[in-house]
């Protein structure tokens, strides 16, 4: 639809910004105002930039553009200029046009007769029906998209074809949704469409994160519960010296290792204190100390650039290849997948666990036992 038609709105009689918005909302409901270049005639009322922006977005909600503003107020003109709206005298402009072109239609009236751009009502209804279905498809497509980004195992070919489909649908939607918006009730003050979309996606992300954390806590407990272990039979974790008795298998990259590599990583630059919990569907890196009484649960690896003193649960969704690394590994408990071990009783809580002497260590799950190895080895 080409926007070659202008539509003049004379609001020079308005006394306040509220009057302008009220009159404008009445005009916007008229079908002939849609898909037009709107020329706005304002009187003495001075509008600031945000008020003008909301008027602009009001007009853009019916697929029209605010292309010219005439005002007696300097503030309004300044605001219009900063928004990139032409500020000229409406009548002068009309005269100029009349001189340049052959006269097309009578101008300078609100009750301008609709021309060939007028969209009959029947078309509207058709459009709305298709739009409804397409918007549903869009939602489904969006869901598919998010699903696809989360699932890793799917082959790339199918992903590509899906993405192409989604793109096609999006293009269709963009072309079709325009007429539908003309039927929408005018919203009084509304930020521009792009902004609303952004906030929506941010909210969706937040909700998704919350869901993830809930999901985490449930799966974490399922993993431990499934074994129905007696916690009084929990064993100490073997120390680096004692670890010699364990045959450490050669490092071969398995699917589980690749899974960890592909997970997203959360960075925390903080001291994790007693009672605080960090949960993640991916890897966790903490720049700081983790005090006794804190809990860290991650589906992937846990890396602590500092002293690890609390409870760390790596691979809490069952990945046995997950590892826990720390500059000073003094955790109360270490859990990897469904194996868990406690700190030996002879290692006492020293009064000050923080020291400048660090021995970076790594905890691994070797055949169901948690073994701690020096990272240098």
């Amino acid at each position: 639809m080409e926007l070659n038609k202008r539509y003049i709105v004379d609001l020079s009689q308005a006394q306040s910004p509220a009057d302008i918005v009220f009159e404008l909302s009445n005009i916007i409901e008229k079908p002939e105002a849609a898909n037009q270049k709107i020329w706005l005639k304002l009187g003495d009322v001075s509008l600031n930039q945000s008020q003008l922006l909301s008027i602009q977005s009001l007009i853009s909600s019916i697929n029209s553009t605010l292309s010219l503003v005439e005002s007696q107020s300097q503030q309004t003109e300044l605001a219009a200029a900063t928004l990139g709206i032409c500020t000229k005298d409406v009548e002068e402009e009309i005269e100029k046009e009349l001189e340049a072109n052959t006269p097309e239609a009578p101008l300078n009236t609100e009750n301008e007769q609709p021309t060939e751009q007028y969209i009959p009502m029947t078309d509207h209804i058709d459009n709305i029906e298709t739009d409804d279905t397409s918007s549903e498809e869009e939602k489904i497509a969006e869901e598919n998209e998010t699903d696809l980004t989360e699932t890793i195992s799917d082959s790339k070919n199918t992903e590509d074809s899906h993405e192409e489909e989604i793109k096609d649908k999006n293009i269709e939607n963009k072309t079709e949704t325009k007429p539908e918006e003309t039927e929408k009730e005018p919203v009084w003050i509304q930020p521009s469409n792009q902004n609303t979309e952004d906030t929506d996606t941010i909210q969706e992300e937040e909700i998704q994160e919350q869901l993830d954390s809930i999901f985490d806590s449930e799966t974490k407990l399922e993993n431990i519960l499934s074994d129905d272990k007696d916690i009084n039979e929990m064993k100490n974790w073997p120390l680096t010296k004692e670890a010699e008795e364990f045959e450490i298998p050669e490092e071969v990259m398995t699917d589980e290792d690749y899974e960890i590599l592909q997970m997203h990583t959360q960075y925390h630059k903080q001291t994790v204190r007693s009672g605080q919990v960090i949960q993640s569907n991916g890897n966790v890196v903490i720049i700081g100390d983790c005090h006794p009484g804190c809990e860290i649960h991650a589906a992937g690896d846990i890396t602590v650039w500092g002293v690890l003193g609390g409870i760390a649960h790596a691979g809490c969704k069952g990945n046995t290849k997950a590892r826990i690394r720390a500059l000073n590994l003094n955790a109360i408990q270490l859990r990897i997948a469904d194996s868990y071990a406690r700190r030996p009783d002879h290692i006492k809580n020293t009064f000050v666990e923080k020291s400048n002497v660090f021995t970076p260590e790594e905890a691994r799950n070797i055949n169901g036992s948690i073994v701690i190895l020096k990272i240098n080895d």
Binding site: L221, K229, I231, G275, P292, G293, E295, Y340, R342
Partner: protein, 270 residues
């Protein structure tokens, strides 16, 4: 078997509720009773630390309440005494995670398997306190010979009296310094009992060994030389129904004091 549910409470913080719970629990278990300690101080748990069981906790009271595990799975056995079990509080939650009815249900289940269920109450008189006393039929009110602690204990006794389920409540005076009582710088035990008009179950002298035992994660009743340890053992025996006179906590004087000091020096080194 129906065990006794005893809540250990004080109102004021820092008077030794948790220390008392750990020591009485250990002493009762040493005497052959089966004991479970329930920590209801959710979010600020310490009982596990005093017993040295911090590294063994996997499930907590909140996990039991929210049905993520069975009650038996959450009971942590003591390192030395298999008669003693701990039901730890969650550190990552707060008091609202467990309601009074839920705790009552748990203590009723524990009563069937244990002779004594000792509930360690959080400080304050709010939600946490109401939850902790919900399942109890007996109470031990811990106080120190300080005016503030005595006032708070008085308030607590009033609240306990208002609760019909609690049949008896007894007073435990903690951190008594005989020297200061003698020089009239500290209220005597008799003064405290007079003010509160409450039956006394024990007097625990101030003992620096408590601090080291807390840091080690070993209750002081395991130390045979400690006065506080002896006093706690006596309290446990009184709970079991034995009639034992109050321990003479006054420090010996004159020649006896000299001998005691020598003994202490050699005892500490040997």
């Amino acid at each position: 078997m129906t065990g006794r549910v005893i809540v250990i409470t004080s109102g004021k913080g820092g008077v030794g509720k948790t220390t008392t719970s750990a020591n009485i629990g250990t002493a009762l278990a040493k005497n052959g009773s089966s004991v479970v300690l329930v920590d209801t101080d959710i979010g600020l748990r310490n009982l596990d630390l005093l017993l040295g069981l911090e590294n063994r906790i996997v499930y907590t009271l909140v996990d039991v309440v929210e049905e993520r595990c069975k009650l038996k799975q959450a009971l942590v056995k003591d390192k030395k005494n298999p008669n003693l079990c701990l039901l730890a509080a969650a550190q990552t939650r707060d008091k609202s995670a467990v309601t009074a009815d839920q705790l009552k249900e748990i203590t009723e289940q524990l009563q069937e398997d244990f002779d004594y269920v000792l509930v360690d109450c959080p400080a304050g008189i709010e939600e946490g306190f109401k939850t902790a006393i919900s399942g109890a039929t007996e109470a031990i009110v811990v106080t120190t010979p300080e005016m503030s602690a005595v006032r708070d204990a008085d308030r607590i006794i009033g609240l306990l009296e208002a609760k019909d389920e609690i049949k008896s409540y007894k007073l435990l005076v903690n951190r008594v310094r005989p020297n200061m009582v003698e020089s009239n710088d500290m209220m005597s035990v008799d003064d405290v009992v007079d003010i509160l008009s409450c039956e006394l179950i024990g007097v625990i002298p101030e003992d620096t060994g408590i601090i080291t035992s807390t840091n080690k994660g070993e209750p002081i009743v395991n130390d045979e030389n400690s006065m506080a340890g002896k006093a706690y053992i006596n309290v446990a025996k009184r709970i079991m129904g034995e009639d034992i006179p109050l321990l003479d906590i006054n420090e010996p004087k004159g020649f006896a004091a000299f001998i005691a000091k020598i003994k202490k020096i050699f005892g500490a080194k040997g």
